[in-house]
């Protein structure tokens, strides 16, 4: 008797399975399930564009409609990856254009996207609907024009913090009058002014527009007329909030805001003047997300705003909020899930706001029972504060603490911050993401290795004493997926000893550490399923095995060594002349 589930039935069942994690499990059951699953997967996510070839992905998922790709390692955000390293979108777009012309959605993060890429997208995918580029670079506004003019069913065009060569605001005028399908438009990262009349016409003919994020060049006055045309917006990113308006314009703007009954997310607010904050009061109670991280507004002007945001789940602010402001958040924003506090000063460490201390975060941890994600920049911290935070919030999933003074100890006891982070990893059993900072010894990493069993991503800078720490992490953190380290004395021994672990992780980044050239070669030999990239812009003339490398980026891959490496990236395959290592690592 054939007990196999007919594939049509399986297909139907799978149409209800959205999660790729589940689908990955389904595909492991047996060959026929693998086949059925792969033919029905619509949404494909590749979190390291070099882990697999575009052709392999296209071959496996012919019915792909949505592709998400990530390119450069996370530390590229902080200029630690030299320009030209890689992460090119072109090979993917080219492959998909040929094999999956029904592709509708493309989401790229930290990739190099050129105008050629955008033109290719516009020309190849007839039903293209969604383009979301996050932290991408390499294209100009001309590329945007190509998308605008050709994609007649475009729904989403979002540029999130991209570096764009801005040749002017004309690109917006290329959206044809026949385009009425727009749901989301985000051009907040562009500099040039777009023509207001074009923008107004676009907004008026987009009845489904739910999300609009303007750039700074859009004036406050213009905002008023746009809001009147789109009161149905759920997400709004304003432009500059600082023009001087006359009384009539102000009351019109106030009226426009009060008509926005659906607004849940507010951002932008560049240069907001304190006298305009009251304009926002009417939308505050409905807000679940508020991004004030570019709003240079200080206390006490923020207070009135925050007390009204009782439904806030996500708050991004600058440290201008001070401890006092965070206390108000703790008492007013009981639904808060995510808090990010960015420094307001210039890069200098001494420049930040001293009226914001560890106490602010402690207050929020006390007052907000749903708080699960924290990013907190501050100048100093204490173990006691972290212990309190951990005790208050064992439900934390993401804890990123950036004490900006490297090697800063607990400022009250002068001890390392080991005990504080111990409390965090011990109590917060579901912690998935952790960034540590301040003065840390071996012990901190022993604790993390012992307790951080669900930890998937860990970021470390200027910490530690020895290889033992890396060993604790690699041998202890079972779920570890991404590890990024800079300026720590971790080196060869732990790395080579835990080489097998590296195949279970997505990637490992180490820069300005103590990894020797020899160890890199040894790892490359031992672990063929890893790409071991040595990224060194200033290599020594002769590279003895003992010489340290500037950066090493190791990731598992099915694709083998990549073909687009620049000359400052060394791998044993690309540079066979560097020879195998005769290093004996104990």
């Amino acid at each position: 008797m054939d007990l196999r589930l007919p594939s049509k039935v399986l297909e139907h069942i799978l149409s209800f399975v959205d999660s790729n994690e589940d689908r990955n499990s389904v595909s492991l059951v047996c060959k026929s399930w693998f086949e059925t699953e792969r033919r029905t997967r619509k949404r494909v996510i590749v979190r390291n564009c070099y882990a697999v070839t575009p052709e392999a992905v296209a071959r496996r998922f012919p019915e792909m409609r949505s592709l998400t790709l990530k390119g450069k390692p996370h530390f590229a955000d902080y200029n630690l990856v030299p320009d030209g390293w890689g992460g090119y979108a072109w090979p993917w777009i080219e492959a998909m254009a040929e094999k999956c012309p029904s592709l509708e959605e493309l989401r790229l993060k930290r990739m190099v996207v050129t105008d050629e890429c955008l033109e290719k997208i516009a020309a190849s995918f007839k039903d293209f609907k969604v383009l979301v580029l996050t932290s991408c670079e390499g294209f100009s506004t001309d590329g945007l024009a190509a998308i605008a003019v050709a994609c007649s069913n475009l729904r989403e065009l979002e540029l999130r913090e991209c570096i764009v060569e801005d040749l002017g605001g004309d690109w917006l005028s290329y959206f044809p009058e026949t385009l009425t399908s727009l749901v989301s438009l985000d051009f907040s990262c562009l500099d040039s002014e777009v023509k207001l009349s074009d923008l107004e016409r676009l907004v008026s003919r987009s009845p489904n527009l739910k999300s609009l994020k303007l750039n700074r060049a859009v004036s406050l006055d213009a905002l008023g007329s746009l809001l009147r045309l789109a009161p149905q917006l759920v997400e709004l990113g304003t432009g500059s909030f600082s023009d001087k308006l006359d009384q009539e314009a102000v009351s019109k703007l106030s009226q426009a805001f009060s008509e926005m009954k659906e607004l849940k997310s507010l951002s932008g607010l560049w240069d907001v003047l304190p006298e305009y904050i009251p304009l926002l009061y009417s939308v505050c109670p409905g807000l679940t997300s508020l991004n004030l991280s570019y709003a240079t507004v200080q206390m006490p002007d923020l207070l009135e705003l925050l007390t009204r945001c009782s439904n806030l789940q996500k708050l991004w602010v600058m440290d201008l909020i001070e401890d006092k402001g965070l206390e108000v958040v703790a008492s007013s924003c009981k639904e808060l899930r995510e808090l990010r506090v960015f420094p307001s000063g210039a890069e200098g460490l001494n420049d930040t706001n001293v009226a914001m201390t560890e106490q602010g975060l402690v207050s929020v941890s006390e007052g907000c029972p749903n708080l699960e994600s924290v990013l907190y920049f501050c100048v100093q911290f204490t173990n006691a504060a972290m212990v309190t935070i951990a005790r208050n919030r064992p439900n934390l999933k993401c804890f990123r603490l950036c004490v900006m003074e490297p090697f800063a100890p607990d400022h009250k006891t002068q001890k390392p911050l080991d005990e504080g982070f111990k409390a965090i990893v011990e109590r917060c059993k579901d912690l998935q993401r952790l960034s540590v900072s301040g003065l840390l010894t071996d012990k901190a990493f022993e604790y993390i290795g012992t307790h951080g069993k669900k930890l998937r991503m860990l970021s470390i800078a200027f910490a530690g004493d020895s290889d033992l720490m890396l060993h604790h992490l690699l041998s202890g953190c079972e779920s570890l997926n991404k590890l990024e380290i800079r300026d720590c004395p971790f080196g060869d021994t732990a790395l080579v000893a835990n080489a097998a672990k590296l195949e279970t992780m997505r990637s490992l980044w180490m820069s300005s550490c103590c990894v020797s050239f020899g160890a890199c070669k040894l790892l490359s030999q031992k672990m063929p399923k890893l790409n071991v990239e040595v990224i060194d812009e200033h290599p020594l003339e002769t590279r003895p095995d003992s010489s340290p490398v500037e950066r090493i980026y190791i990731y598992r891959t099915l694709a083998g060594p990549r073909l687009d490496m620049p000359e400052f990236v060394w791998t044993i395959q690309k540079n066979p002349e560097i020879g195998v290592s005769h290093l004996a690592i104990k």
Partner: protein
């Protein structure tokens, strides 16, 4: 493997000292690395991630010369503490040599607060990618400065790969006041004259009697404001002083407004009698500037 890794490290205390001690102290400590893996040894002097010639070999941190520690981080740690205290430009490529100023231990912020008048210069360290703020944010905040400035100031619109230079004037300066329990921060660019500044300060610190900044409505021409402000400041119980680029404390009001906002790093409202000593230096500086 484990044994050699676990054996020798008992420098928990030293790791703090390594970062904090003055470079003049030579570090000598037991170097338990007489193991057989000397393959990874190399002289720290061969590698210069810091500035060529900026440190002498005998100041090399001996603690780091173990098999695992023949690495640039010893240099990095040391250079970093130099960097935060000595305005050394620390990037991957060898930069130009600068003076390494007196090394001051990395003290917690509250210590700095208590001795504002004698505080060492707030130097800006240039370490690539630290603090970890996205380039986009950095560029945006920097261009926000230059936008407000109206292009009249230092050109900081170039966006290099490295962290931005600290040459542009501070957007925010701290304002402290004698006897006040907290500091405030203000954005100097939101004011166009000393009069605006003084009324803002008065508002900010009004709960502490500042004295007669007074209601001098109708101050017309800017040219008058500076000297008038100085006069009325000198007449009152408190004066406003500022720390300039050269780390000198000066009386607010003696230089033209534009020059003031370029050079002001910190403001402090102190009692008049404390500020008397500042006057002669102020005169000198003004003379040398004019």
């Amino acid at each position: 493997m484990s044994e050699s890794v676990a054996a020798e490290h008992d420098y928990i205390g030293l790791s703090m000292e390594a970062a904090q001690m003055s470079d003049n102290k030579t570090k000598t400590r037991d170097n338990n690395n007489n193991k057989n893996d000397d393959v990874l040894n190399f002289k720290a002097t061969e590698l210069r991630l810091g500035l060529p010639g900026s440190e002498s070999p005998e100041r090399v941190d001996q603690w780091f010369l173990s098999p695992k520690s023949s690495c640039p981080v010893s240099g990095a740690k040391r250079v970093f503490s130099d960097a935060i205290n000595g305005s050394t430009k620390w990037v991957f490529s060898p930069g130009s040599a600068t003076d390494v100023k007196d090394i001051k231990p990395a003290v917690p912020v509250k210590e700095k607060k208590s001795s504002a008048a004698a505080a060492p210069p707030a130097s800006k360290a240039q370490v690539v990618g630290w603090p970890p703020i996205r380039s986009f944010r950095k560029n945006t905040m920097a261009s926000s400065q230059s936008q407000k400035q109206g292009g009249g100031d230092n050109n900081n619109s170039e966006t290099e790969g490295e962290a931005k230079s600290g040459a542009e004037p501070c957007l925010y300066v701290k304002v402290s006041m004698e006897g006040a329990p907290y500091l405030r921060k203000i954005d100097l660019k939101t004011y166009k004259s000393y009069v605006e500044l003084s009324s803002a300060l008065e508002e900010m610190f009004s709960c502490f009697t500042i004295g007669q900044f007074g209601s001098h409505g109708g101050c017309g021409r800017d040219g008058l404001n500076e000297s008038r402000l100085t006069d009325l400041l000198r007449g009152s119980e408190y004066v406003v002083t500022y720390e300039d680029k050269d780390s000198d404390w000066m009386l607010v009001g003696d230089v033209p407004w534009e020059m003031f906002i370029c050079s002001c790093k910190k403001l402090r409202i102190m009692k008049s009698f404390e500020a008397i000593g500042l006057a002669p230096r102020v005169m000198e500086k003004c003379r040398s500037r004019n």
